[in-house]
């Protein structure tokens, strides 16, 4: 039995790991960009949207939240082609991650919207703002600010969950680890290295988003 660990064999393939990290971050960034929009839209619909929209949105949220991400991914990648919708691994990954983040984010955003003081809405209405303006200018920014830490946590969870996307040959970090493991026969070391990188990514992503949120995403 070979109990000697050899991390160099894995680390020498650093360009491969780097590409994996790049893809993991790219997938996460895309899912985040679209997923947050979905989350806000769905959060709004569930709170004050028309009933005919609220019901399907509620169904979407509950279905996503009560099924595993890997099944959602397999459904998108393996299942949808039966309907003639053939997606590349990358596209399928982004779609599944976006749907996932959108559903969890919707519940978070909704809680934030619900905690808006009544007086603020009334004050804005008394200034003759349209309903849309009241929402985007008065209600949404402070609500997002309140729930931003929760949204950041959810984005980190989605980033970590993207490790599953390697299973449909999306070339993200876990896929890189799979390839290196197969080529170097240093399976355990490859996954240790990948796990450590994921941990660092999770920590830095959380920091970065907590820092960036107030500055770029919802202003001040």
């Amino acid at each position: 039995m070979n109990a000697q660990l050899d991390f160099l064999a894995v680390l020498s393939d650093w360009p491969m790991l780097l590409v994996g990290v790049g893809w993991t971050l790219a997938l996460t960034a895309m899912a985040m960009a679209i997923g947050l929009v979905v989350a806000v839209a769905c959060g709004w619909v569930r709170n004050e949207g028309p009933a005919w929209l609220a019901a399907p949105v509620a169904a979407y949220v509950e279905v996503i939240r009560n099924t595993p991400f890997i099944v959602q991914l397999f459904f998108v990648f393996f299942g949808l082609p039966s309907l003639g919708i053939r997606l590349s691994p990358t596209f399928a990954s982004v779609l599944a991650m976006t749907l996932n983040l959108g559903a969890y984010g919707a519940e978070i955003v909704r809680a934030g919207l619900l905690s808006t003081p009544k007086g603020q809405i009334e004050a804005a209405q008394s200034l003759a703002l349209t309903r849309f303006q009241v929402f985007t200018r008065v209600v949404l920014p402070p609500a997002l600010k309140r729930v931003w830490p929760a949204l950041v946590s959810q984005i980190v969870i989605v980033m970590l969950g993207s490790a599953v996307c390697g299973q449909i040959a999306t070339e993200e970090l876990s896929y890189a680890a799979n390839v290196i493991a197969a080529e170097s026969f240093r399976t355990f070391e490859a996954y240790i290295v990948a796990t450590v990188i994921y941990l660092l990514l999770a920590i830095s992503l959380r920091r970065a988003l907590n820092w960036a949120g107030p500055r770029f995403i919802f202003g001040r």
């Binding site: 509950e62 099924t67 299942g79 355990f188 240790i192 941990l199 999770a202």
Partner: protein
């Protein structure tokens, strides 16, 4: 090629769902025990145990469950133990669950006012007596809803055990999809089965949460 009716697919999936449930229960019970011990150690000793506890939680919450499963699977083999995938999957999911439950419960204990510890200390209760008679009964009440809610996460987490070859609902879905060439139907059914298992638990957790909120007001 054998023809599979939808009913055949569903029947096979139901068989496989049994293993999803068994694995979930192993992880949940095992994780509860390990997580409970971790929390008690932290409450008892504090100091450096706090750091170990936080590191443990951070480690399992900050890395993909899939990687944890791989490490458990290949790590055990590297140690020379030729174990079944049952052991690898149970180990990884138990540790994963323990970290989350420990952290959830830590929050619940922290929500108990400091005065409860101080009053019971000043009445000469030992640490164990404080925990058993004063702190835990109060913490338990607020811990139940999020704990039940986390069970849903555990059940969904077991789907990843399919990747290391554990045959449960998702793995069975993969296998059936491969032989039937009906991936759309099969994965829709797989999703449906998870939903049927998880959704009632989610609803129950939400109901419990509302109940404790009202009771505390």
């Amino acid at each position: 090629m054998v023809q599979f009716s939808n009913w055949d697919i569903l029947r096979n999936l139901i068989f496989a769902a049994e293993w999803t449930i068994v694995l979930s229960l192993i992880a949940f019970v095992g994780g509860g025990l390990v997580g409970g011990c971790l929390l008690v150690a932290r409450l008892w000793r504090g100091g450096w145990v706090n750091h170990v506890f936080n590191g443990y939680v951070q480690l399992f919450q900050g890395t993909p469950l899939l990687m944890q499963l791989f490490l458990s699977y290949f790590g055990l083999r590297l140690l020379g133990v030729e174990v079944s995938v049952w052991v690898s999957a149970s180990l990884a999911l138990t540790l994963y669950t323990s970290a989350f439950l420990a952290e959830i419960w830590r929050g619940c204990v922290a929500a108990i006012p400091k005065g409860q510890w101080e009053a019971s200390t000043s009445l000469a209760l030992s640490f164990g007596e404080q925990l058993r008679h004063v702190i835990l009964p109060q913490a338990l009440r607020i811990a139940i809803p999020p704990t039940v809610g986390f069970l849903v996460q555990v059940i969904k987490g077991t789907a990843l055990a399919s990747v290391i070859g554990f045959v449960e609902l998702t793995r069975a879905g993969n296998m059936i999809a491969n032989v039937t060439y009906k991936p759309f139907t099969v994965f829709a059914f797989v999703g449906l089965m998870y939903f049927v298992i998880c959704y009632p638990i989610s609803l129950y957790a939400r109901y419990l949460e509302r109940k404790t909120h009202v009771a505390r007001r």
